[in-house]
Amino acid sequence: MAAGARLLLDVQSGSLHSLDEAAWDVLEALEQGGAYDGTDRGSRVDEVMADLDILIEEGTLSHPDDADPMPSALGPGVVKAMCLNVAHDCDMRCGYCFAGTGGFGGARSLMPAEVGCRALDLLFDISGHVRHLDVDYFGGEPLMNMDAVVEITRHGRELEARTGKTLKLTLTTNCHELSPKIDKFLNDNDIAAVLSVDGRSGVHDAVRRTADGRPTFARIAGNMLRFVNTRPDGEYYARGTYTRRNTDFVEDVLFLADMGFTSISFEPVVAAPSSPYSIREQDLPAVFDSYDRLVAEMASRRAAGRGFRFFHFDLNIAHGPCLAKRLLGCGAGREYVAVTPDGELYPCHQFVGREGFVMGNVWDGITRPEIGEAFGGAHIYAKSACRDCWARFMCSGGCHANAHEMNGTLMTPYSIGCLITRKRLEAALAYAAMTDGGS
């Protein structure tokens, strides 16, 4: 377990326990096939077993023979979130970009405002009884199409007022063209922001460059700091990608924290094995070490009053989503669709441009519901790699786009992603234990 913690996660209830050395030893012996028949036992073993009986009795520890619970019904999908690809174009050329540096493998284009507005009409309609809706302005780079973003936002707020539903808006940006005028618009319209930055300037500039090859760190860092300082209570994340070139990404996280960012997220790059950026199995020990060091450093800074949020350590363990939700962590095609500039619907932003995955369009709605149904069938009880994984109710099956990209099927998760997710969850649980429940 990370950072020296001895933790016992009850997978089925989600409860988390801390063990002393004696309890850890007993559980290890049981796990390795040691029999415990209630006879010839030492007093400490006796005490540990009595403790475990108490947990089983109260339901915070499941009996090893207990089958996973079944929700009453998974039910049909209800689309309640959209990714609006307002720009299939970008003013940067990042080396690891999954979106073909903005064009998603096709022509570069911007979404007309009327397409975005029609997408919102469709979302408010097909979400039925669901009141909380989410829309992310994405791309490409959405700041290249701010006129449309402004108009779509205005339309969304009108729909909210008319229907009584709540629309949460998020904008993901590379920050290159972030300006005081845009800062004000995002703040005035309560739009959460995901701000892309890869940490140390050398790491960032090695990958994230302008279309004509210039470095971007100095400019985007300045824009980000100005923006964040205008929204003391507004939601944002400084979000980075790590690759095999910076498996010591803990240094990038801490660099951003030292710059003053208090909400940070770092994600592993997803790239084909042939890419010079992809995370390989031989990179994993260094990646895992970064997560362990991050746990220790975050706990230390928190104790010193200099804490910050790291998205993946911010688990809501006690009051997280219900079981039905956890069977299918990926909402693609069932709860979530991506909209292209010309109004086509895909299961998610990563499927945009992949042949055979157009689900409909913003004028006719979802015309191929069988695509969403196929995604619904790829839940954790149906996938052999997930069925016995301890992280199954926290990871909930991983990214379908990665599974499809790496293995050609929704039913087999991306194995490197699984290993990283398990380590990240282990680290998050250790952090929760070190901080009495988390941040």
Binding site: S15, L16, R44, V48, F98, D134, P321, C322, K325, A401
Partner: protein, 55 residues
């Protein structure tokens, strides 16, 4: 079985850090008001991990 810690006896070697009742939501969940989740690495905006139940 749902979790019930009301009458818990003291444990000597185990300290419970977080009490959760995921099993108990098997029958009560599914309202769909929670944030839509996305496990994609490029979408920090809506990953499952730190979601809260809105019920």
């Amino acid at each position: 079985m749902s979790v019930n810690t009301d009458t818990r006896e003291e444990t000597k070697h185990v300290k419970t850090i977080i009490v959760a009742d995921l099993k108990g939501t098997a029958a009560t969940g599914g309202c769909r008001e929670c944030q839509t989740s996305c496990q994609s690495a490029c979408k920090t905006s809506c990953t499952l991990g730190n979601q809260a139940c809105r019920k």
